[in-house]
Amino acid sequence: MIQLEAIKKQFYIGQPNQLEILHGIDLQVKRGEFVSIVGASGSGKTTFMNIIGILDRATYGTYLLDGIDVTQAKDRELSKIRNEKIGFVFQTYNLIARTNALKNVELPMLYAGVAKKERMERAKELLTLVGMENRMYHTSDELSGGQKQRVAIARALANNPSILLADEPTGALDSETGRKVMDLFQELNREKGITIILITHSTELAEETGRIITLKDGRIIKEHNLRGKE
């Protein structure tokens, strides 16, 4: 499902200040898993996440996503893959300003070319799933942090992605709303079988997931299976 092999990422290639951030990472994530990637800042977490989310390309190594070799794809194809296979949840929510929740959730489907009516129905369905059915027509500045994150999760799920990629999703929330968001992830994983990769620096949150992968200085130093679950 996700297969990363010997991933290396270098910056400033061919220049005197050439820098290698990732030194060969192997990782496999199966369908329905809930994996967390932890690491201190500077461990290469963000770079790794960008590669998983195909916002960036690895310098060396192969990355198979649902059997597609992503490292060979062109920019245009990458947009399409991001659109169809990856759902992003950001620390800062990144809802589109001045746009209501419904339109935000519709956006990935818009880029995928889904018809208007279907788009709206699916968006409503998803907002109901995350418990935002009463706030569908509110714009992002009329929503609280927790509510924004719920909308963002609904948006990430819009095109039935293979992975939900969450980068510090509770980082900007207080512990109570953060808890609720985590519960939502758990529920989505358990009941809907959605694959989730959670990037966090909090070991506490990581311990709730099925598998913890610890990064340090661009290498995986520890893999810890918590649930023994597939």
Binding site: L55, D56, N83, N94, L110
Partner: protein, 418 residues
């Protein structure tokens, strides 16, 4: 489908930043409205000048005497031999019988006033010949134009304008036929029977400061009648030649001028003859109008250009402000083309709305200005469409660079942008 969504999005963005959107549009708005207003005013002026010239007839050649080496300080008393005499006209007509259809003559008897109890009208008495009747396109509301017999018999009949009828009688044109009007000239009474009423048309030379009621209109009487009354010799300072159809009036004017000067004014040191073709005057006039219009339209175009640069500037600011949004959109699967289209549509929408308001404002200004000037101006649908198209092209032109910049943003950097 994406285009529709983009338009919706652009409109929402414009609504959210009303002040900024308005200021952005302002340049385009002023540019387009000034261009439209100028076209309208120009058209109105052009139209009025052309129609007043058309009244004189494009087939006409205006012939008049001019003073040689004219000097303001020197006073010159016209001598009898300086004027154009009847036999000269006969000779001229004979010389160019292939080209000349008729000659229009008029004899002005000066300004006067017709009083009917407490009502009155200001008039100019003008004696006219049959040629004049032909050259001047009078629209008769009642009665008829003069016949040759009226001229030969020097009948005391008069053609008056509908304005005159309204001012003096306040009755329908049909009802005043056969009535008599009286004027006093040099202490003598003259009376004329109204034989026709013509429709007054604006000449374009009216003094707008004079109230409509006071405006002087022409009363036409047969030329012979006027000559008898004035007791002067038959002599003219000017006359119009009506050319036959298909004749090159410019060339004929030149021929008439040289013929008259060669035959009658060769030895005259003070006076010469000038002949001008109306057609050429009209052409010159419209050429001049066009260049004035073009110059002002050029100024409008510069303001459009400045407006366009304003749009570009605001678009760049807006893109910088929304870098994170662009990053998010890219993460959600927007291709570069999608982003480019979004911002391009935004620029076009701003320009189009600006252009649209500009067109309405321009028509409004044009209407007001032409009203004040006393003309009627119109603008073709084509010009409006061209203006709107122009503003759209501006949107594309000035929107492309910022939109392209947005499209090429690196999603990682855009997402990280604070």
């Amino acid at each position: 489908m994406l285009i529709l969504e983009n338009i919706e999005l652009a409109l929402a963005g414009l609504r959210a930043n009303k002040m900024r959107s308005f200021l952005t549009m302002l340049g385009i708005l002023i540019g387009i409205s000034s261009v439209i207003a100028i076209i309208m005013v120009g058209d109105a002026m052009n139209g009025s000048v052309m129609s007043s010239m058309g009244d004189l007839g494009v087939n006409n050649i205006s012939v008049y005497i001019t003073q040689k080496n004219y000097n303001e300080l020197e006073e010159y008393k016209m001598k009898n031999r300086d004027y154009v005499q009847t036999e000269m006209l006969e000779k001229l007509k004979f010389q160019f019988q292939e080209e000349i259809e008729d000659i229009a003559l008029k004899k002005s008897l000066g300004a006067n006033k017709v009083v009917n109890k407490r009502r009155y009208a200001n008039i100019s008495m003008v004696g006219v010949n049959q040629g004049f009747m032909k050259s001047k396109n009078l629209t008769m509301l009642a009665g008829e134009k003069f016949q040759i017999k009226d001229q030969n018999d020097a009948k005391n009949i008069v053609l008056v304008s509908d304005k005159f009828v309204y001012n003096v009688f306040q009755e329908a044109p049909q009802k005043v036929l056969g009535r008599t009007i009286e004027i006093v000239k040099d202490g003598k009474y003259y009376s004329y029977t109204i034989s026709g009423v013509y429709k007054y048309t604006n000449t374009g030379y009216e003094d707008v400061n004079i109230p409509k009621k006071e405006m002087r209109t022409d009363c036409y009487i047969p030329l012979q009648t006027a000559l008898l009354q004035s007791r002067e010799e038959e002599k003219y300072e000017e006359f119009d030649v009506i050319a036959r159809k298909g004749v090159d009036t410019g060339k004929l004017a030149g021929n008439i001028q040289s013929f008259m000067n060669q035959s009658y004014y060769k030895d005259n040191e003070k006076i010469a003859i000038s002949a001008e073709s109306m057609e050429i005057m009209v052409k010159q006039m419209s050429g001049m109008m066009k260049s004035i219009q073009l110059a002002i339209a050029g100024i409008g175009a510069i303001s459009l250009l400045v407006g366009g640069i304003g749009v570009m500037n605001i678009m760049i600011v807006s893109i910088t402000e929304r870098t994170r949004e662009i990053g998010t959109r890219k993460a959600l699967g927007a291709t570069n083309q999608c982003i480019r289209l979004q911002f391009l549509v935004e620029a076009i929408v701003i320009c189009m709305i600006g252009g649209f308001i500009g067109v309405i404002l321009g028509i409004g200004i044009g209407e007001i200005v032409t009203k004040i000037m006393g003309y009627t101006g119109k603008i073709s649908i084509g010009s409006i469409a061209l203006c709107v198209l122009f503003s759209m092209v501006f949107g594309v032109f000035f929107g492309y660079y910022p939109a392209n910049r947005a499209a090429k943003l690196n999603p990682i950097e855009a997402l990280r942008y604070e």
